[in-house]
């Protein structure tokens, strides 16, 4: 049942909860039919933004447009958003079928489908979410994954213009999450709905979304495809939150990057002199083969993996260890000093907003 997705435009949205700014000047454009993830740690404002789109929160400033039309002051009932709540918010006292039919039954008499049509629609949706025959059950009699699908069917029943999901897999165990992820992608493909979901799990965002909006402390840090976020992270926050990253404290002097008395060959892109941090992913550091070693470290432990050997290395002048993977043949021995070189790294000024906050969480 492909439906036409609407575009969503968020323009300069701000929201304060008392003295706490939950959203600060958030702007973004979502294309029709796009699958977008709002990614961030707790307290980053991602759920607030989703609720602003749904009309569950009224922003203090800024506007929300659906398909070019200003929807900022449109009541939640009139927005036709399919909203899937974090813990599903299924009506406990209604059967699965009644839950799904709810949005159709509360319509004004003139717009309400006949009860035969409602029944047919409920059946269709039950089939669509693979819950045929469970219409007479109550939510309490379903598993978490089934409840999730009922919540989705209920949201789809009103033929929404956009589909919004708040932490859709948050309450499920790991195995069910994987299945549902794949399934949600299919749902998105089949419905063609503009879909926005909130998650704190970067794997989930990267695997599912066409584009990911990274939020931190109420601000948008970066909007981009998963590839862009991996390859061109816009801030230290993004690189450390999206994927594993190691941060080395360095000093920049006239374009030269210095770490613990060694010079790192990194393009500073005109970064001004002062303290900075160099970020690299575990895959971007390797045991140096030639004479181009930038770093040196001591092998602290070795562990065999299917592909090769994973070594934990303590870098001289740095209080954290890092793990590198190398092919079996180049493996060092325990306690060896090994030369290391960076194949790819990014540098951001040390005072970069939000970095410290995130570093604690790694």
């Amino acid at each position: 049942m492909p439906q036409q997705g609407f575009s969503i435009r968020i323009d300069g949205v701000e929201q304060d909860f008392g003295d706490f700014p939950a959203l600060r000047d958030v702007s973004l454009d979502i294309q029709p039919g796009e699958l977008v993830a709002l990614l961030g740690p707790s307290g980053s404002g991602k759920t607030t933004l989703l609720r602003v789109i749904a009309g569950l929160n009224a922003p203090d400033r800024g506007s929300v447009y659906f398909d070019g039309e200003d929807a900022t002051n449109l009541a939640v009932q009139d927005r036709r958003v399919g909203f899937v709540f974090q813990n599903y918010a299924l009506f406990k006292h209604m059967t699965v079928a009644d839950n799904i039919a709810y949005g159709l039954r509360v319509r004004p008499r003139r717009q309400r489908p006949s009860s035969a049509d409602i029944t047919a629609r409920v059946e269709e949706l039950l089939r669509f979410v693979q819950l045929e025959g469970l219409g007479k059950r109550f939510p309490a009699q379903l598993s978490g994954g089934q409840r999730q699908r009922v919540a989705l069917a209920r949201a789809l029943a009103i033929e929404p213009r956009v589909l919004l999901l708040d932490e859709p897999f948050g309450a499920l165990d790991a195995r069910v999450r994987k299945d549902l992820r794949r399934w949600l992608r299919e749902v998105h493909k089949e419905t063609g709905l503009t879909t926005v979901f909130v998650t704190h799990d970067q794997d989930e965002a990267m695997e599912l979304a066409d584009r990911v909006v990274v939020l931190n402390q109420g601000r948008v840090e970066q909007i981009g495809t998963p590839a862009e976020l991996y390859d061109k992270p816009a801030s230290s926050f993004v690189i450390s939150f999206v994927g594993e990253a190691v941060a080395l404290p360095v000093t920049v002097t006239d374009g030269h990057v210095n770490f613990a008395g060694r010079e790192l060959h990194i393009d500073t892109h005109g970064l001004r002199s002062g303290p900075a941090r160099v970020f690299f992913r575990p895959a971007d550091i390797a045991v140096a083969t030639g004479g181009d070693a930038e770093l040196e470290g001591r092998v602290e432990s070795l562990r065999r993996t299917p592909a090769g050997v994973r070594a934990t290395i303590a870098i001289d002048g740095f209080d954290q260890t890092l793990e590198i993977e190398s092919p079996v043949e180049t493996a060092a021995t325990l306690g060896d000093k090994v030369p290391l070189s960076l194949t790819k790294a990014r540098i951001f000024p040390a005072e970069a907003n939000g970095f410290d906050h995130i570093a604690d969480g790694i």
Binding site: F17, G55, L56, N57, A58, D60, T72, N73, L74, A75, V76, Q77, D78
Partner: protein, 288 residues
């Protein structure tokens, strides 16, 4: 419903946190209106009329020997009744929560009887029980003990109406006590007796105090169950609420208002005490 809750919420945000749910203005307004009309305005009138008496008028009423005697009767007997309820309420709550025995459920349900039984019914049945020819009154009379139509009768009635307050306040706390605490105490070498006094009773203290205060406050204001058994002899077994009624019947509005103001002040004090106990308990034990 097509009006703008977004804008409405923004306008109201100075007072209420914005919400997409409708109806705050209506329900909040009605709540204040109805509360004001039924409760606050009439009580304010009482305070206003009492303030009309002036300090000297107030003192005159309060030093009237019959008033002093009635207030003293009410307070003393309410206190003793609450103490008795405290002791037996704790035992009943402990037994009902910790032990299993036949008819436990029925007996548990029965504890609420004083809440449900109208006070006038309680009054006449207690009077009938303890009257010199009653089930309990007759054998007691043979031993030379007189309950009905004495201060003892008042005490019996006040114990009756206060008991569920202690039981129902303490019971949930007993059932929440972690068995591990007792086991820990035992593994550390404490005797059962030491465990009860050092581990089990301290967390129950706030609930016991709250239950005591509730029973005491209720006893002070109690009227219906007392007047039938009390005998209502001035200076001996006349309670303060009854004196209000008597003053009203004599069209002594000033006198009735004066006593009522004192009782209202006591109610507020009891309410404050209960709230303080509960605030303290929340800080200290994390529960009420």
């Amino acid at each position: 419903m097509t009006s703008s809750p977004a804008r409405a919420a923004r306008n109201a945000r100075r007072f209420v946190a914005p919400s997409v749910l409708p109806g705050f203005g209506l329900t909040f307004g009605y709540t204040l209106f109805y509360l004001g009309l039924i409760v606050l305005f009439p009580l304010a009138m009482l305070i206003w009329r009492a303030s009309d008496l002036g300090a000297s008028g107030f003192m005159r009423i309060m030093t009237e020997p019959r008033v002093t005697a009635a207030l003293q009767t009410t307070f003393t007997l309410s206190f003793y009744a609450a103490v008795i309820d405290l002791v037996f309420g704790l035992i009943v709550a402990w037994v009902l929560t910790r032990y299993s025995f036949p008819f436990r459920r029925v007996i548990d349900a029965f504890v609420d009887l004083p809440f449900a039984l109208p006070t006038a019914v309680a009054g006449i049945s207690l009077a009938a029980l303890y009257a010199p020819i009653g089930w309990f009154g007759a054998p007691l009379a043979e031993m030379g003990i007189k309950i009905a139509y004495t201060r003892w009768g008042i005490l019996v009635a006040l114990v009756f109406i206060g008991l569920p307050f202690v039981v129902r306040t303490v019971q949930p706390i007993i059932s929440e006590l972690e068995i591990e605490l007792e086991e820990a105490s035992a593994t550390l070498g404490a005797s059962r007796f030491q465990t009860i006094f050092n581990v089990l009773l301290p967390p129950l203290l706030p609930a016991l105090l709250t239950g005591f205060a509730l029973a005491f406050a209720r006893a002070i204001g109690e009227y219906g169950s007392v007047i039938f058994i009390a005998g209502n002899i001035a200076y001996v077994s006349e309670i303060a609420p009854l004196l209000i009624v008597i003053k009203l019947e004599q069209y002594d509005f000033a006198g009735a208002t004066g006593i009522a103001a004192i009782m209202l002040a006591i109610s507020f004090a009891a309410l404050l005490a209960i709230n303080l106990i509960q605030a303290w308990s929340r800080r200290r034990f994390g529960h009420v």
